[in-house]
């Protein structure tokens, strides 16, 4: 049982990192980035290739940087020119980007699944009670906690973080003194996509790489974001924890209908509380 | 003076956390009266309109329309009993034709006087155009037409003159006065433009920081030192 809960935490951690990137971008731009799963996938593949030269950790850094740059580009080329358009237009554009990315990844890396080994020194196992547990999985949990802590500190104590929080509560919040909103949105969107890249690399030793890996995590992270309340950081954290467990326990105990469980959880939450867990505050 | 008022608002209150946007506001409107609701920004005018029409949650106090307690009714049900409003921010149906949307509003009003309303608001000539295609001033009048159709018992107007030129505002004010007399409307009017207010209102209620500062005839209010200090400033001193 303990091992199942731990596995659920591992998946929750991964889901959290993907979802919180979506929340960051939504909070500032009011747009749900449908290409986010594509970025996660590109991160995994970029990390895979870069790891051949720089090793796993070097690959991770390269992937995060590349995805951060893609995010900055995305904000500059897509989100900013379309900021006064209907949000649905922007969402559809990100959907188009997703299609192109999937195709390009398939062109470069092929459609076959690729696998990645857990990096040294996290490639062993650890004795937990009477079971052996892969160390790498514990590392994933630790990375998710580090991301959550770092984001919380940034949101609470930096001026930019304060602005991001205010903006995700109220879209109409206008420019705050001392914050260059244009520059801020570049870095927030960049941070959001960099987190997608990070999660892609972190996930690759756990799950195989394939051009469709992005869409499955994207859909569960959508469930996380809606359950948590669009734009809510704390909500995404709680929802990721819950859905990670539900997802994992479902696969173990009721494999046939496992995919329905996160959805049912979300439906129950939405019926009880239409705004999701939290009303948009960090 | 009759015993039943067209509108009796008692103890209207809306709090956001510890902050009271509207605190224990009460006033009464007689049938046929045009009442101005004035106050500086943040005084609670729009909140008061929202509470009267049931827009948004968390509100205390009672609202009686023509003797009937409507405090628990939804926005939709309040319209059905004859309470209608226009909006400060133009709030129309951009994809619908002008006549089409006024007719739609008329379906739920006591009776259909779409053509009369269109004519009164000089919208007849452009009635077949799509609302998003006409000018801002025309759209303001479409907003008004949606509230006015069916001659509601009580009409709440939230800054109908916003964004209009001085001449347009005064023309609108005179026209509203004229309409109110002919159609026996009772109107609660929120307006920034003091010239409009003084041109058409029978009585004024002044809100300040969410509470009623004073109420009276326009001339009394204009002369009230408290009002001058809190709101009107030196312009009318």
């Amino acid at each position: 049982m303990l091992i199942q809960i731990l596995n659920g935490l591992v998946y929750a951690g991964l889901l959290y990192i993907v979802s919180v990137g979506l929340v960051l971008i939504f909070g500032l731009r009011r747009v749900v980035n449908f290409a986010h799963g594509g970025f996660y996938m590109v991160g995994a593949y970029a990390g895979y290739t870069a790891a051949m030269v720089f090793g796993f950790w070097g690959g991770l850094i390269v992937a995060v940087l590349v995805l951060g740059l893609i995010g900055i580009l995305l904000d500059y080329v897509v989100f900013r020119p379309l900021q006064n358009a209907d949000h649905m237009v922007t969402v559809l554009v990100t959907f188009g980007i997703l299609l192109v990315f999937e195709d390009v990844v398939q062109m470069i890396w092929g459609a076959d699944t690729l696998s990645v080994l857990a990096p040294y020194p996290f490639d062993g196992t650890v004795q937990l009670g009477d079971i052996l547990f892969p160390v790498y999985r514990l590392l994933v949990i630790a990375v998710a906690i580090a991301v959550a802590l770092g984001l919380t500190l940034w949101l609470r104590f930096s001026r930019a973080g304060l602005y991001v929080r205010a903006s995700s509560v109220d879209a109409l919040t206008t420019g705050m003194q001392g914050v260059d909103t244009e520059k801020l949105s570049l870095s927030v969107v960049g941070l959001g996509t960099a987190l997608a890249g990070l999660s892609g690399v972190i996930a690759s030793p756990l799950l195989a790489l394939s051009p469709s890996m992005g869409s499955s995590i994207l859909i569960e992270s959508f469930i996380v974001v809606v359950t948590g309340g669009l734009g809510s950081f704390a909500g995404a954290f709680i929802a990721a924890l819950l859905i990670g467990q539900v997802h994992n326990l479902g696969i173990v105990y009721v494999p046939n209908v496992a995919s329905m469980l996160p959805l049912l959880l979300m439906v129950v939450v939405l019926i009880l509380k239409p705004t999701g867990f939290a009303r948009s505050y960090s | 003076m009759s015993d039943t008022y067209m509108l009796e608002a008692t103890g209207l209150t809306r709090r956001y956390g510890g902050f009271a946007a509207l605190n224990n506001v009460s006033f009464k409107l007689r049938q046929g009266e045009i009442r101005g609701l004035i106050g500086s920004n943040g005084a609670g005018k729009s909140t008061c309109m929202d509470v009267l029409t049931g827009r948004g949650r968390n509100q205390q106090g009672t609202v009686c329309l023509n003797g009937q307690d409507i405090s628990r009714l939804s926005e939709r049900e309040r319209r059905a009993v004859g309470l209608s409003r226009s909006f400060q921010k133009t709030n129309i149906f951009p994809e619908l034709g002008i006549r089409q949307q006024v007719q739609l509003a008329a379906r739920k009003a006591e009776f259909d006087n779409t053509e009369e309303v269109l004519a009164e608001l000089s919208l007849t000539a452009i009635a077949d155009r799509t609302a998003s295609d006409v000018s801002y001033g025309d759209q303001r009048r479409v907003d008004l037409a949606l509230a006015l159709v069916g001659k509601p018992k009580l009409l709440l107007l939230d800054e109908p003159a916003a964004g209009l030129t001085i001449e347009e505002s005064l023309a609108m004010a005179r026209h509203l006065r004229n309409l109110a007399e002919r159609w026996k409307l009772t109107i609660l009017l929120v307006e920034h433009d003091m010239e409009v207010i003084f041109a058409i209102c029978d009585r004024l209620t002044v809100l300040h920081l969410g509470e009623v500062l004073t109420e009276g005839l326009p001339d009394e209010v204009r002369a009230n030192p408290e009002v001058i200090r809190a709101y009107l400033g030196s312009t009318f001193a």
């Binding site: 749900v32 949000h87 649905m88 969402v91 559809l92 554009v93 188009g96 980007i97 299609l99 192109v100 999937e102 195709d103 062109m107 869409s215 859909i219 569960e220 959508f222 469930i223 974001v225 809606v226 669009l230 494999p255 209908v257 995919s259 329905m260 996160p262 979300m266 019926i271 239409p274 | 827009r55 939804s74 926005e75 939709r76 319209r79 709030n91 129309i92 951009p94 994809e95 619908l96 034709g97 089409q100 739609l104 509003a105 009003a109 608001l121 000089s122 919208l123 452009i126 077949d128 155009r129 006409v134 000018s135 001033g137 025309d138 009048r141 030129t165 001449e167 023309a171 026209h175 004229n178």
Partner: protein
Amino acid sequence: MSNLSMAAAAPKVRTSTTPPVLVVVGIAVALVGFVLPWLGLPRNILSLLTSASMTAILATGVGFLVRQAGFSSFGHAAFYGGAAYLLVLMSVYTGLSGEAVVLLAPVIATLAAFALSFILLRTQGVAFSMLSLAIAQALFELMMRWRDLANGEDGLRMRLPREIFGLKLSFFQKADTMFLVSWSALIIIIVGLVLLSRSHFGTLTLAIKNNEERARFIGFRTLMPRAAIIALSGLIASIGGTLFALYNGYITPGLLHWSLSGEALIIAIIGGTRSVWGPALGAFLFVILRDFAGNYTTHWQSIVGLVLIAVVILLPSGASGAVSSLVNRIRGGRDV
């Protein structure tokens, strides 16, 4: 009489109702469709057109939801594939008659759409899209993993009697005859939706889409009309799916996959959702171009992605909008 307006009355302009020329063209296109099977077209072309007309039905449902309620569904494969699965599953697992199976499949899918609409309507804007995607994808995963039920990714063959509705089953499985069935269904759906959009219900739902709050303030309920539009859109998609299952006699989870949902939405947008018939036009363009492009490139998906981006930014009224303004220009009218 005093007058509120300072501005001079604007000249009367033609409104945005469909120009009669388009109606004539539409009737002509509909009639041409009915004679197509007798023109001696190659079999593969006819079967391409048959699948295109089913995709057109799906896209019409998706597009009508955008047009009439403003919701962009990323999950309509749930209704299309859902009805197809219902049909095949019922034909395999129940003793119901062939007719009952064919009729019940879309009815159940529509009831499901109606029930789901109350959950979807608790969200707004883009959350609707996210939720619809999540629901459809959960159904996809369900059919993939629950191998005992529908054979997972290997798919399942339908088991219907040799005759339904007094016709041989092969009538529904040959391109030339099935094209007539699905083409008729498409025409009936489009005509029905055009009439509906001009009724009071059409005006009301458009008003709610434009401004839900004001619709309440002028005295209308706004939940049920929106739920009805979602259910209607689900019904249309499920009719498409039912026809697909009948025609192919075989289902796989691909019918539920998000890429089909996304494709339907893209088709609707490329075709143009301002008109009822735009998505159907988009479907024929899309299916024929995909077949054509298949000979030259393997990067159809990139092309679709780029075309989608171009259309939403540069041509928001889509192909049907372009056709409408072209027709107006030919008539010498103003470009409305």
